[in-house]
């Protein structure tokens, strides 16, 4: 710090150099006194940055009417068309499959939160190219709050998309009971995890095309091998392993076990959740897995992001 200042000073400065030196010493003392204040200021600045990015994601979510409409229609189509179709196709005597729609409901919730959360990740890649993020990088805020704000925004948007779907629960026999609030909390966490993963891929991908390809390759198999669409507990060999390490498995199972009503956990016991060496982890542990994943993804993303070019 000091060598900077002196080296930048002219070699021939004489009389006022001494004066500057005393002034500099005073300044150092003043700076030390102000240091704790500055640290508090730094935290406030970080919180402001989180808020700005969160607000921006929420504004984008709220302003995009087409996307809102799509996000409500898509899960409904899944639930009503796909679910009803399968229900009708399965012979009546196989009673277990009668409530396929109810079984499918947690998966539909998952899809609802997934879309906007992924969009937040995609917005990072575009922003990096098109600039909004570059502009943020010149602002006097540290890097971590920027990504945290985006993830919180994505989580909020995801939650916003999930609420209308949750309201449809009555159609598949989910009673409107206070447990639904717990489901909302879980969905918020899951949306946060999705956004963190999207952000991580976005930060590593660099180019929008790469992001799209990676996301496309990952999301479908993960969703299908999570027990969201069909019971995944009985899958053989390596597929079973994939199911067990798939974070979505735990997200779906936690939702399924928290949702009130009999039908959801049904399919005659075939929809059993994951087991760890014969032990069934409680919902709290499953949620814990999702939370750990979210935090880990966000941390790695922040690390990569802060390193810069």
């Amino acid at each position: 710090m000091t060598d900077l200042r002196t080296s930048a000073l002219p070699q021939d400065a004489d009389a006022d150099e001494a004066a500057e030196a005393t002034k500099a010493a005073e300044a150092t003392r003043a700076a030390e006194a102000a240091d704790s204040g500055a640290r508090r200021g730094r935290v406030a600045a970080d919180l402001r940055a989180v808020r700005v990015l969160w607000q921006r994601e929420v504004i984008r979510f709220a302003r995009n009417r087409l996307r809102i409409a799509m996000s409500v229609i898509m899960p409904m189509m899944f639930l009503l068309v796909f679910g009803t179709g399968l229900n009708a196709a399965v012979p009546a005597e196989q009673a277990a499959f009668r409530d396929f729609r109810a079984f499918f409901f947690p998966g539909v919730l998952l899809m609802a939160v997934q879309a906007p959360a992924m969009a937040a990740g995609a917005s990072i890649v575009w922003d990096r190219q098109a600039g909004f993020l570059r502009q943020l990088l010149v602002a006097p805020v540290s890097r971590p709050p920027l990504l945290t704000g985006i993830c919180l925004g994505g989580a909020t948007a995801g939650l916003g998309y999930a609420v209308p779907v949750l309201c449809l629960g009555g159609l598949v026999g989910v009673p409107y009971r206070p447990e639904l609030l717990l489901v909302l909390l879980e969905l918020a966490l899951i949306a946060f995890a999705f956004t963190s993963l999207g952000v991580l891929v976005a930060v590593c991908a660099g180019r929008p095309e790469t992001f799209q390809i990676v996301m496309g390759l990952c999301m479908m198999p993960l969703l299908f091998l999570s027990g969201a669409v069909f019971p995944a507990s009985g899958l053989p060999g390596w597929l079973g392993t994939v199911v067990r390490v798939n974070p979505l498995t735990y997200a779906v199972d936690a939702l399924r076990r928290t949702l009130p009503g009999q039908g959801v956990s049904g399919l005659g016991g075939r929809a059993a959740g994951p087991e760890w060496w014969g032990w069934t982890p409680p919902v709290v542990a499953e949620i814990g897995c999702v939370a750990v994943l979210a935090v880990a993804a966000l941390s790695v993303a922040t690390y990569r992001f802060s390193r810069g070019e």
């Binding site: 710090m1 002219p10 500055a38 406030a44 940055a49 607000q55 070019e309």
Partner: protein
């Protein structure tokens, strides 16, 4: 903190003159793989001035701005901006600079108002003061009526104006503008230049801008010319033009070939022929006019004296020959051709 800042900001001085410096670079270098985008750049930009950075495409202007704004990590050398080292104290640098990128960095989903409010929030400007500043800025760039419409619906020029407003909102010490006036109509361009001039006078802001437009560089207090990553020359526009020195005297005559021969024989000057007559390069061209006319055996229809333009300087220093400069730059005398 303010005391500390005061001392720090008076930190770097230009050797000799003792002028405060807003930007100081020493051997600043950036390479991408083996390609050097910026090579050992030494710049000293006095505080409170308008500094123009000129160069053809790919000269390294944007890369330099990126390093000065802490977005790109230099691979060599160092840079001080507003008294702080860009590598060691990027946070302090960012607090004191405004930046308008070459490409638009607006979010189309946000309104102009939201864009500026978010920016004020990021810089920690208190709400009440932020609102006043935002309205001032919107008035300046004439976007008050459009403040609640999404930026997506703005024209290119309106976006540019909004970005300039954003760059100025937090009253930076140094404002970096990467080709600020590309895509603007002449009125807006003039308005922005007028504002930049006022800004420099009233608030002592240093403006660091890049441009391809040589007319624009004439507005600057100092300019630097860059080519292929290296600094070619810097100084005031007048000083640079003085280096090139010579005026161009253009004479329309009845017989150009005879005129060229006569100028060479009687005055010992080399003349070239062009579409608009013969051209002679001499220092103090006006004083030469009577002698030229007297020496010519043919009828002279008209005489024009053109002082050197920055375009001449540019061509002179970027390694192109004066002959080339003659044929390219004086086809439209006095109107420099922007090189893209």
């Amino acid at each position: 903190m303010s005391t500390a800042t005061g001392v720090r900001e008076s930190g770097p001085r230009a050797p000799g003159s003792g002028e405060r410096l807003a930007v100081l670079t020493e051997g600043l270098t950036k390479s991408y793989g083996d390609r050097q985008a910026v090579t050992r750049l030494d710049l000293a930009v006095p505080a409170g001035r308008t500094f123009g950075f000129l160069g053809p495409n790919g000269a390294g202007k944007s890369t330099t701005i990126g390093m000065l704004c802490t977005l790109l990590r230099p691979t060599g050398g160092r840079a001080l901006v507003a008294g702080y080292d860009v590598r060691r104290e990027p946070h302090e640098v960012r607090r004191r600079i405004g930046l308008v990128f070459q490409e638009s960095t607006l979010d189309g989903d946000l309104t102009a108002m939201e864009t500026l409010r978010f920016h004020a929030d990021l810089f920690g400007i208190p709400r009440r003061r932020a609102l006043d500043a935002i309205m001032d800025m919107l008035e300046l760039v004439e976007l008050v009526e459009r403040r609640h419409t999404p930026v997506r619906t703005f024209s290119g020029g309106m976006r540019r104006r909004l970005e300039i407003a954003r760059g100025l909102l937090h009253t930076p010490r140094v404002l970096f503008l990467d080709e600020p006036t590309t895509g603007l109509d002449p009125q807006t361009r003039a308005a922005i230049w007028a504002y930049l001039g006022r800004l420099r006078e009233e608030r002592d802001v240093t403006v660091f801008l890049t441009t391809h437009q040589l007319e624009e560089a004439e507005h600057c207090d100092r300019i630097a010319i860059m080519d292929e990553g290296a600094l070619v020359v810097d100084g005031t526009p007048a000083a640079l033009k003085a280096v090139v020195g010579s005026d161009v005297v253009t004479l329309r005559t009845a017989d150009d070939t005879a005129a060229v021969r006569a100028v060479a024989e009687h005055l010992g000057l080399e003349a070239t022929t062009g579409e608009d007559g013969i051209r002679v390069r001499v220092a103090d061209g006006a004083a030469w006019v009577p002698r030229l006319c007297a020496a010519l055996p043919v009828t002279v229809h008209s005489v024009t004296v053109t002082p050197p333009t920055l375009d001449d300087v540019f061509l002179h220093y970027t390694g192109r020959t004066i002959r080339e400069a003659d044929s390219e730059a004086t086809v439209f005398p006095g109107r420099p051709i922007p090189r893209r």
